[in-house]
């Protein structure tokens, strides 16, 4: 097999353990492809680089579509504890409306309607509605009643797209204090920026970045680890711009229904999708 001729049984066994610990709940067809891609990546590296990738993978999180409903249950519970209204309009987070693309935020917004959610909260007095956009009458109604507009997504990374989405509704006349954000998973950076802009923000999980994971290492250890990742990224040709820490240097270590470009490039941008763990295929 191409580029896969260098994997010792000891390293392979470590990968097996790691995979069983982290991804044992995946359906077999998904697990098989993921495992083979990670193994191919390891097989194309030398032993020191393989250990670095294993250390990196200990920190990587993967939420498949099968996890989405339970994450949504978590986040709804958090909302119910805090919000003083159950009258909420859910709308997908869309940052660039001119492009009219179908986004994962639309999927998550639709999931609020799922039976799992309805069965989980059977006696709640929710008044949920779902809109991709608001007309003038709805905006007036939202502003004047005890209602919230929840902007929904599966993942908020830097928070820039979220602010852009909020800006759209504010420009339409929605009062800023009526807007809240809901996400299944967040980065600290996204949480901080939304809080700094005084938005209420509910999420199910916070995914730590490489920076946060390596916080306790000494400067030398940190530099060495980042340098190793950079060298491996160059070796598997993640891109020709020398970027390796993800969009806006977010350093995220996460994949979901798709892989956010905030994640380290090595996780999604390899020139060969067979040895890229979570390739972003268009």
């Amino acid at each position: 097999m191409k580029n896969s001729n260098n994997l010792n049984i000891k390293i392979f066994n470590q990968l097996t353990q790691l995979f069983m610990d982290k991804f044992s709940n995946l359906p077999e067809n998904i697990a098989e492809k993921l495992f083979n891609r990670i193994s191919n990546l390891l097989g194309s590296l030398d032993i020191k680089e393989q250990i670095t990738i294993l250390q990196l993978f200990e920190k990587v999180e993967y939420f498949s579509i099968l996890d989405y409903e339970m994450l949504l249950v978590d986040v709804i519970k958090k909302m119910l504890l805090v919000l003083d209204t159950k009258n909420i309009i859910f709308t997908p987070l869309i940052s660039q409306r001119v492009q009219r693309e179908v986004k994962s935020s639309m999927l998550v917004t639709y999931l609020f309607k799922s039976n799992v959610i309805k069965y989980e909260f059977p006696n709640s007095s929710f008044q949920f509605s779902y809109k991709t956009d608001l007309i003038e009458r709805e905006i007036i109604n939202l502003n004047n009643k005890n209602k919230k507009l929840a902007i929904v997504d599966d993942f908020i990374g830097t928070g820039h797209s979220a602010l852009e989405a909020a800006r759209y509704f504010i420009d339409q006349g929605v009062k800023k204090e009526k807007i809240i954000f809901v996400s299944l998973v967040t980065l600290t950076e996204g949480e901080t920026i939304l809080q700094n802009h005084n938005y209420q923000y509910f999420y199910a999980k916070k995914s730590l970045t490489l920076k946060e994971h390596t916080h306790d290492l000494t400067e030398d250890q940190k530099n060495q680890f980042y340098n190793d990742i950079k060298i491996i990224s160059e070796k598997i040709k993640v891109n020709n711009k020398g970027e390796f820490l993800g969009y806006h240097e977010s350093e995220a270590l996460i994949s979901m229904i798709r892989t956010p470009n905030n994640s380290l490039n090595i996780l999604w941008e390899g020139v060969n999708s067979e040895n890229t763990p979570f390739p972003r295929i268009k």
């Binding site: 896969s4 392979f12 097996t16 495992f35 083979n36």
Partner: protein
């Protein structure tokens, strides 16, 4: 024709032999046997107490060593298997005298 590698004895032999020699696992890969299949085999052999795994150090148990010897005999590997691990990519079935080979 059924491929030899669909035979569980061959798979068990290959994996036990690689572990016994602390070798490269890519020698076990073939069109019909991926890294994922290898992981499943490894877990099955551990569950059947042919392998033990002490903090990442993988070893054959006594039971595993016996099984390897039995498999070598059963598969008629001969003395050469002590020196060289067969590459699974090149393991093919012997063609029968009545078969017609079409390249």
């Amino acid at each position: 024709m059924k491929n030899k590698l669909s035979n569980i004895d061959w798979i068990n032999y290959g994996v036990l032999r690689v572990i016994d020699s602390n070798a490269n696992v890519s020698i076990l890969l073939s069109e019909n046997f991926s890294y994922f299949n290898l992981m499943k085999t490894l877990n099955r052999l551990k569950n059947n107490a042919l392998l033990r795994d002490y903090s990442g150090v993988l070893e054959l148990t006594d039971h595993g060593k016996d099984e390897l010897i039995k498999l070598e005999r059963k598969l008629e590997m001969g003395n050469v298997s002590k020196l060289v691990i067969p590459d699974f990519k090149y393991i093919i079935d012997k063609i029968d005298i009545d078969d017609v080979y079409l390249p």
